[in-house]
Subunit: 191 residues, 2 copies
DNA sequence: ATTAGAATGTGATCTACATCACCTATCCAC
DNA sequence: GTGGATAGGTGATGTAGATCACATTCTAAT
């Protein structure tokens, strides 16, 4: 399945567009390819676009004191990622986005998204739903972080995203769970 | 300022509605009053509405093992609250919402919101933005929880919402920060 | 093939915070 | 006013997980 079809199917799950509407919509996306390790957004950048992942895996993360990294989100195919704070407030990036593996994305600029939302009501609906899902998921994660210990959170993560285990280095999983890589290592080696 | 004006001004910050549009919109909200301690949403309930706070203070919270409480959000005037997961997926509530003080709210049913979004494009825009703000705020809180110790989080909270300090009992602030009430007590008594 | 740098495992130690226990002050409801 | 929640404070002790230190393996570039 090509990028166009992946996007089409993804949107169709939430909003119904006519062929003409989707054509018009798709014109606003720009396909981009990145190599493993390439940076899409660096802290301090002006942020102008969000990214819809076609293949590969990205991460969005925050680095504290130039030392510790906390992963906000792994972005797998059909997931969206960006610095949404910077994007919506037109401020500079406070988080980073880069590639864990080689990746293909569809880039959508802020201006294009707003234009599409204005022109096609169904797309505004789509983006409202998408954001709502992200909001709910983040709230769940917040609760899990307060309520569960590292082991429980690790098990939850693997249950939710089994692919991650083999795809993503363990120290990144630790950075997502909010524990040190040492602790994570001890956890799944059942100490 | 009455409820109508408060809502009008709140929406106007994000979306521009004509007088007719706002009239139509406002018809879908139902004013409700609650006493301190009253429950708007209890775990297990069917959730059919979200609430826009006019006066007073609500909390949305999760109770683990019938013992420990974690507060997702304090809802002050002009804030929205509900169990958005249950509301959007039409599942039963996994969190609770009740009143910390006497409160007046405007209740908006899920059906009414969807109708309003369909009928008035600008409102769909409004709700998209509102959800986006919530998403970004929750991400920030997630980062703070992973990155900062309890003392730092406590200071951040007071800086962001100074009103809370006098309005809300300390043990609820602890439940928001994700620390025990004892630890919170020791923190601000500078041990 | 060689080598430098990532990624990972594991012990020893330290620490922020939870938990338990108990005490005091305040606020209502009868 | 009195008694029972509710809120808050503080000491003693326990523990999950951080941090430090170092060894091992894997990976990718030369």
């Amino acid at each position: 399945m090509n990028a166009r079809e992946i996007l089409r199917e993804h949107i169709a799950k939430t909003a119904s567009l006519t062929d003409e509407q989707f054509d018009y919509c798709f014109e606003h996306f720009e396909p981009q390819s990145f190599k493993k390790g390439q940076v899409l957004i660096a802290e301090g950048d002006r942020v102008d676009a969000e990214y819809f992942v076609i293949s590969g895996c990205l991460k969005s993360f925050f680095v504290n004191d130039e030392i510790k990294m906390y992963i906000l989100q792994f972005a797998m195919p059909t997931w969206w990622t960006s610095d949404y704070n910077a994007l919506y407030t037109k401020s500079r990036a406070s988080i980073n986005v880069d590639c864990i593996t080689d990746a293909e994305v569809l880039s959508l600029s802020n201006a294009s998204r707003e234009k599409l939302c204005r022109d096609i009501h169904q797309l505004e609906y789509f983006f409202r739903w998408r954001t709502n899902k992200g909001y709910v998921a983040t709230q769940k994660r917040l609760l899990s972080l307060m309520n569960n210990d590292a082991k429980k959170r690790y098990e939850e993560l693997l249950e939710l995203y089994p692919q991650l285990y083999n795809l993503v280095p363990k120290h990144l999983i630790a950075a997502y769970l909010g524990v040190s890589r040492e602790t994570l290592s001890r956890l799944y080696n059942a100490h």
